[in-house]
Structures are given as structure tokens and as C-alpha cells.
């Protein structure tokens, strides 16, 4: 009895379902309306089958279970729907077309009925025809869409905007998978989009945009470029074999590395500068986490730089300034960066940097002792507060000696400290770095007392006005002994900037030889304590050039040392082998031509000679 009931139910269902689907044929030229009709048809089927199953539950549980070749009622309904759908191919086709059109509209910015999409795609899945009937044409459509879009946008936007757009699109497509597409479509979908938007344009992107981003310090954009590119290759693993993928990944890495290092030292310098900005105090509104995240991103780029010694030199210089002028945003962030660099490059790289921190901490202790010491208590006038940073040469950048004739009092204070220090640590030599000094001067202006935070050089200049009302540039130069360019900079900062404690005649931005300066009687300012020493944090072009030059000079010494070391061991070596050895030993980029120059220099200085019989061979000269 179960069998005949089942068959009658099946027959009824079939008649009903086939009629329902046939009725959709020729319905509504408007695709969206059509889709709603399909949805209704499907929804009705589901509801009806559920009810039938509910009523004939006993059938499902007995007859169906006992007969393995008989489907459950629900499945029977599905199968019938699928069968009759395939008998009315234009319905299926129209449905798919409608769905693809809706998705395209959404991509073009229109609002679409996502619920409708969701339901219909679930229908496809339930019917087991999702991959064949929908996903395949969908991916093709997507491919065409993004191929066209990619070309259009590449022509009309600049690279950073293009990459932002790509990122947005990929995000969008990902969302699509949560909203209505089946989860299995995600991987091939993203891969397709990436292929069209990125892979086909990589050469153009690198050509067009890379240099602009490097020049403009656009670290975030570069990071975006790198992460998009490396993702693009990872996601195409599905399509390609492992070996092809690895090669692609490596090609990306290599091209990136090649491009970054085409600009020689600029990337190293720029990355160091970027870090300086982030680690300096005054970065309002950036949380600790954000900062950590940024530091990690920067490290990704850092890995590509050859010649990390340039980075080290700039980083060290900027770190020194931050530590000595008390400008670090957070010592924790500083130390975190150091440990990241340590993980990347080993402790040799960061030893000196860590030494700098030790010096700062040690200096704190020394200053405490100094305050308590007999020298300070007896010899320093009350009201003078002095603290000294004692730097270990070798950890800190080399500072060019800057002459200055300090006022007598300041000389005395320096000697007092020296006496104290050497009494504790005999056998050491102290050298004052006057360019790094800074002071707080108490100034008596007619309109109110002020405290001025100034550099030592600014102090020396200002103190001259204790004894004179008006001074010419040349007078000041004679009295202070400060080097010409530095002096002009110093006077500019006192007389031509925002805070004018001195007045310059004639007025003007630049300091000329026959300018004169007077104490600004009329000076006022809203705050009691005023910073005038911002110039110490700024770097001059000369500073940067000399930092780079010092690195190159240092490299020359390293090359010479390496050549001598190699030749001493080998005694006799051909030119080609010597060059090969050098490239293996030296850790920074260098051209063979430069190596030749060093070899010739060593020949000239009689460390080596060419072999008499074969000039391509060198002999070591003991």
C-alpha cells in the first residue's frame, strides 16, 4: 500500500511542478520580475513539499526507509523540479541571465534585491546545479567584467588610486560570498578578480607607479602593492601547479627587491625617516596597536633593502636625536622596534642601538650622583640645574666637532661636571658635543618674564645681549666663534621665525653679512615657557649627505680590509676569483667597478701586485 500511495503522490507532484514551470515560459520580459516569479515558484514548491512530507511523514519513515531505491518525499520533489526545469531550458537560462545581470548592476553601483539573489542561489544549490548552471557562467562574466574595468581604470587613474580601487573590489567580492553566493565560489572568484585586475597589469603598475610611491614616501601604498601582489600569486595556487606559483612568488619578491634597490639609498633613507616620524612625540591619536601594526608593515619593506647599513646610519642618527632631546613618543615603542630589527637582522645590527639606550639610563644615574656630589653642591651656583648625557663613542653617531666660544659661566659648569665625572671614572676622556646641548633660559622681557627652551648655540648668542643692546652679524660671529652657516641658521631661528626674541635689521628671511640684531623689547607670547629650539630636530641637507657619505666611506674601508684579508690567506688569486670572493663576503651592494678601484688603490699602496707573467693574477705583498 505504501508503494502505490507514494506513486500517486509522485504523480500529483509531477503534474503540478511541470505545470508550474511551464507557466514560467514566456513570462515577463523584465528579468527582475521574472526572477521574482521563479522565486515564488520555488518558494511554493518548498512550502508544499514540506506540507506533503508533514502529512505523509509515516510514508517517509516506513516505505521510503525500507526501499533503498526510493527517494524521500523531499528529495523526490527536488528531483521532479530539477527534471522539469531541464525540460524548460529557457527558464533556467533566463534565470541565470537575470542573476548575472543583477550582480553586474550591483558591481556598477546600483542597489539590488540581495534576498532574491540569496534565495535563488540557494535554490540552485539545493537542486545540485549550482556549479554547472550558475558558477561557471558567473566566473566567466566576472572575468570579462574585471578585464574591461582593469584596463579602463589603469588608463585613467594613478597607481595608488588604482590599487585602492582593487582592494575595494576584492573586499566587495568577498562580501558577496557572505551575502548571497555559495561559499565554494569564494576562492575561484577572488582568483579571477585578482587575475584580471592585478596580474595582467603588474608590469604596468610597477613601471608607472613604483617610483612615484617611493619618491612620495608612500609606505602604506607600497605595503598595499606588495600585499596585493603576493596574495594574487598565492590565490592562483588553485589554478597553477605549486612550482609555477613558487616561481611567480619569487619573481614578485625579486622584482620588488630589484626595484626598491634601483634607487640605491633612497628607500633606506625614506624608511628610516618614516619611522622617525612615527616614533617621535606629537603623533596625536595613534594608538599603541596602530603603531605596532605600522612598525610591522614597515619591516616587510625593510626586508627588501640591500645595503641595510645606510638604513642603520639614518636610523641611528634619528634615534639619537629623539633620545637626547627627549622627543620619543614612547620608550616602549622604541624598544619594540629595536627588538623587531634584532629578530630581522641579528644582534650585531642592534648592539649599538641598544648601547644608546643603556647610555641614557646610565646618564640618569650619573646625574643623580652629580646632584648629590660635593662638586655640584659647593661649586654650582644655586638656581642652576645641569644634567649631562654621557655618550659612549662608538654607540652613537659621529658628530662633527663644532667650535663655539662658550660664555665663561658655561665653561665653568662644564669643568665642574668633568671634575666630578673623572673622579668617579678615571682614565676616561670626555669631549663636549656642543651642537647637541640645549638649555632653558630665564628671560626678562619688559612685557613679562619668560622661560625659553633653546639650543646651546642659541643660548650663547642670546647671552651676548646681556652686555649689549645691538650687535652686528660679524660681531656675533667673532664673539661666538660659531661656524658661518650654522650661525646664520641659529640667528634665523631667533629673529626670523615664529618666535622672535631678537629683531633683525634690515628685515628679511635670510641672514646677510651686514645685518644687525637687537634684543626684542616688545616680545610677548601667550605661554610662559616657549620652545625655540625646533631647529635641532630638523635635519639639514648637509647632514643627510654627510650621513650617506660616511656610510660609503665606511664601506670602502670594509672592502679594503676584505681584499687584504682574502689575499693574505690565498697569497695568489685571479681577478675573477677575487671578485667572486668579495661578493660573497661583503654584505652591501657594490659595483665591480668600485671593487676594481679599491684593488688598484691597494696595488698603488703596495699591498698587492699584478703577477709579472699574467696581469690577470694578483700576488699578495707581505
Amino acid at each position: 500500500m505504501g508503494g502505490s500511495l507514494y506513486q500517486r503522490i509522485e504523480k500529483e507532484c509531477e503534474e503540478h511542478i511541470s505545470a508550474a514551470l511551464r507557466s514560467l515560459v514566456g513570462q515577463s520580459p523584465d528579468l527582475v520580475v521574472f526572477l521574482s516569479l521563479v522565486e515564488k515558484c520555488w518558494q511554493d514548491l518548498c512550502d508544499q513539499m514540506l506540507m506533503i512530507r508533514g502529512i505523509a511523514l509515516f510514508l517517509d519513515r516506513t516505505y521510503v526507509k525500507q526501499n533503498s531505491n526510493v527517494r524521500s518525499l523531499w528529495d523526490m520533489g527536488l528531483q521532479l523540479f530539477r527534471k522539469h526545469l531541464s525540460l524548460a531550458p529557457e527558464v533556467e537560462h533566463k534565470t541565470v541571465t537575470g542573476l548575472l545581470r543583477m550582480i553586474e548592476s550591483e558591481r556598477l553601483g546600483e542597489a539590488v534585491d540581495r534576498t532574491l539573489l540569496n534565495h535563488l542561489l540557494k535554490m540552485f544549490t539545493a537542486l545540485g546545479i549550482y556549479s554547472e548552471s550558475f558558477e561557471k557562467p558567473f566566473l566567466e562574466c566576472t572575468s570579462e567584467f574585471y578585464a574591461a574595468e582593469g584596463m579602463k581604470y589603469m588608463q585613467q587613474s594613478d597607481v595608488p588610486d588604482y590599487l585602492k580601487h582593487v582592494e575595494m573590489r576584492l573586499h566587495e567580492e568577498n562580501e558577496r560570498c557572505f551575502l548571497y553566493l555559495d561559499a565554494i565560489t569564494r576562492k575561484p572568484l577572488i582568483a579571477t578578480a585578482e587575475r584580471q585586475l592585478l596580474e595582467s597589469h603588474i608590469p604596468a603598475i610597477l613601471d608607472k607607479g613604483f617610483m612615484t610611491l617611493m619618491d612620495g614616501h608612500r609606505i602604506e601604498d607600497l605595503q598595499r602593492m606588495y600585499s596585493l601582489f603576493s596574495r594574487a600569486s598565492l590565490d592562483s595556487v588553485l589554478e597553477e601547479s605549486f612550482s609555477k606559483n613558487e616561481a611567480f612568488c619569487n619573481t614578485i619578491k625579486d622584482s620588488f627587491e630589484h626595484l626598491i634597490n634601483l634607487r640605491q639609498n633612497r628607500p633606506a633613507e625614506l624608511i628610516a625617516k618614516f619611522l622617525d616620524e612615527k616614533l617621535r612625540a606629537g603623533n596625536k591619536g595613534i594608538s599603541e596597536e596602530e603603531l605596532e601594526g605600522t612598525l610591522d608593515k614597515v619591516l616587510v619593506l625593510f626586508r627588501f633593502i640591500q645595503g641595510k647599513d645606510v638604513f642603520e646610519a639614518f636610523y641611528k642618527k634619528d634615534l639619537a636625536k629623539r633620545l637626547l632631546l627627549g622627543k620619543s613618543a614612547s620608550i616602549d615603542a622604541e624598544k619594540s622596534m629595536i627588538s623587531k630589527l634584532k629578530t630581522e637582522c641579528g644582534s650585531q645590527f642592534t648592539n649599538k642601538l641598544e648601547g644608546m639606550f643603556k647610555d641614557i639610563e646610565l646618564s640618569k644615574e650619573i646625574n643623580e650622583s652629580f646632584k648629590q656630589s660635593s662638586q655640584a653642591r659647593m661649586k654650582l651656583p644655586s638656581g642652576i640645574e645641569m644634567s649631562v648625557h654621557v655618550l659612549t663613542t662608538g654607540y652613537w653617531p659621529t658628530y662633527p666637532p663644532m667650535d663655539v666660544r662658550l660664555p665663561h659661566e658655561l665653561n665653568v659648569y662644564q669643568d665642574i661636571f668633568k671634575e666630578f665625572y673623572l673622579s668617579k671614572y678615571s682614565g676616561r676622556r670626555l669631549m663636549w658635543q656642543n651642537s647637541l646641548g640645549h638649555c632653558v633660559l630665564k628671560a626678562d622681557f619688559p612685557k613679562g618674564k619668560k622661560e625659553l627652551a633653546v639650543s646651546l648655540f642659541q643660548t650663547v648668542v642670546l647671552m651676548l645681549f646681556n652686555d649689549a643692546q645691538k650687535l652686528s652679524f660679524l660681531d656675533i660671529k667673532d664673539s661666538t666663534g660659531i661656524e658661518d652657516k650654522e650661525l646664520r641658521r641659529t640667528l634665523q631661528s631667533l629673529a626670523c621665525g615664529k618666535v622672535r626674541v631678537l629683531q633683525k635689521f634690515p628685515k628679511g628671511r635670510d641672514v646677510e653679512d651686514d645685518d644687525s640684531f637687537i634684543f626684542n623689547e616688545g616680545f610677548t607670547a601667550p605661554l610662559y615657557r616657549i620652545k625655540v629650539n625646533a631647529i635641532q630636530m630638523k635635519e639639514t641637507v648637509e647632514e643627510n649627505t654627510s650621513t650617506t657619505e660616511r656610510v660609503f666611506q665606511d664601506r670602502q674601508y670594509q672592502v679594503d680590509a676584505a681584499i687584504v684579508r682574502i689575499m693574505k690567506t690565498r697569497k695568489v688569486l685571479s681577478h675573477t676569483l677575487l671578485i667572486t670572493e668579495l661578493f660573497q663576503q661583503l654584505k652591501f651592494p657594490i659595483k665591480p667597478a668600485d671593487l676594481k678601484k679599491r684593488i688598484e688603490s691597494l696595488i698603488d699602496r703596495e699591498y698587492l701586485e699584478r703577477d709579472k707573467n699574467n696581469p690577470q693574477i694578483y700576488n699578495y705583498l707581505a
Binding site: S574, H575, T576, E600, D604, R610, P615
Partner: protein, 159 residues
């Protein structure tokens, strides 16, 4: 060649020199000059003279030879022993180098003139040639004096 200063012979030095050469008549002197000229043609002798010339021509106490002097010497020496590139070499130095010449460069130049053919076909850029000579080759290529040969196909051999 025992004169103490280049081109200046004291009367004494002149007569001593002649005695060493076994010259006691004008006839013998003329013979000797042509003989010495032919000696220059001998490779080894030329090499000795050439390398000696460096030390002889430079200022006392200097390690390198002033450029003007070097150029003059080269013009002189290569007048006898033909080297087609000598003029280009001198032009190149005046345009691009403007510094003194080291001993190594001086001696390697002779090697270069001897072993490398004027079309530079057997020149190896990766070799141990002094940097200045590498630059000279670049100069010749840049100015189209020597056309750097890429791979050529002998079409007659193709099947």
C-alpha cells in the same frame, strides 16, 4: 739613459753616454741611432724602455705621473710602435680623467695596446684591466668610435 733630469743633458752626461755606447765618431753615432731605433721595434726592449719611462718622467717624490707629461710620453713612444688608439686614449684622458696616472695604469696600458686588437673584439670587461681602461672602452663605445659587436650570424652557414 743615465741622465738625471729628463731632456736635459749636461755636457758631461752627454759624453759619458757616448762613451758607454762606444761612439767616438759622427758616423758611428748615426749608425747607433738607427740601431737604437730598430731596438725599439723589439718587443721586450720596448717594454723595458716604456716601463722605465714612467719612473724617469715623473716628478721626484710623486707616486703618479702628471697627465700632461704622460700624454706627451705616450705620443712619443707610440709614434715608433704604432698603436692606432693612442690619439683617442689621449683625448679621452683629457676629457674625462684630468688626474695623474698611476704606475699600474701606465704598465697595463702597454699590455692593452699589445694584446687587445683595435676593434676591441678580444677585450674582456670582466677582466683585471684597470678601471681607467674600462672607462676608455666605454668611451670608445659611447662615441661610436668602436661599434660594440653583438652576436653576429653568418648567414651563409644557415641551412
Amino acid at each position: 739613459m743615465k741622465a738625471s733630469t729628463m731632456c736635459e743633458y749636461s755636457k758631461q752626461e752627454f759624453f759619458t753616454g757616448l762613451q758607454v755606447l762606444g761612439i767616438d765618431s759622427l758616423e758611428k753615432f748615426r749608425e747607433r741611432i738607427s740601431f737604437m731605433r730598430s731596438e725599439l721595434k723589439d718587443e721586450q726592449k720596448f717594454g723595458e724602455i716604456y716601463n722605465f719611462a714612467f719612473g724617469w718622467a715623473k716628478e721626484k717624490g710623486q707616486k703618479s705621473l702628471a697627465l700632461d707629461t704622460a700624454i706627451g710620453m705616450w705620443q712619443l713612444l707610440f709614434a715608433e710602435k704604432q698603436w692606432p688608439l693612442v690619439d683617442h686614449w689621449c683625448q679621452f684622458l683629457q676629457a674625462r680623467h684630468n688626474k695623474a696616472i698611476s704606475k699600474d695604469t701606465w704598465s697595463q696600458l702597454l699590455e692593452f695596446a699589445r694584446t687587445i686588437d683595435p676593434s676591441l673584439s678580444n677585450y674582456d670587461a670582466e677582466g683585471a684591466w684597470p678601471y681607467l681602461i674600462d672607462e676608455f672602452v666605454e668611451y670608445l663605445n659611447e662615441n661610436g668610435i668602436i661599434l660594440s659587436s653583438q652576436s653576429t650570424t653568418d648567414w651563409s652557414q644557415k641551412r
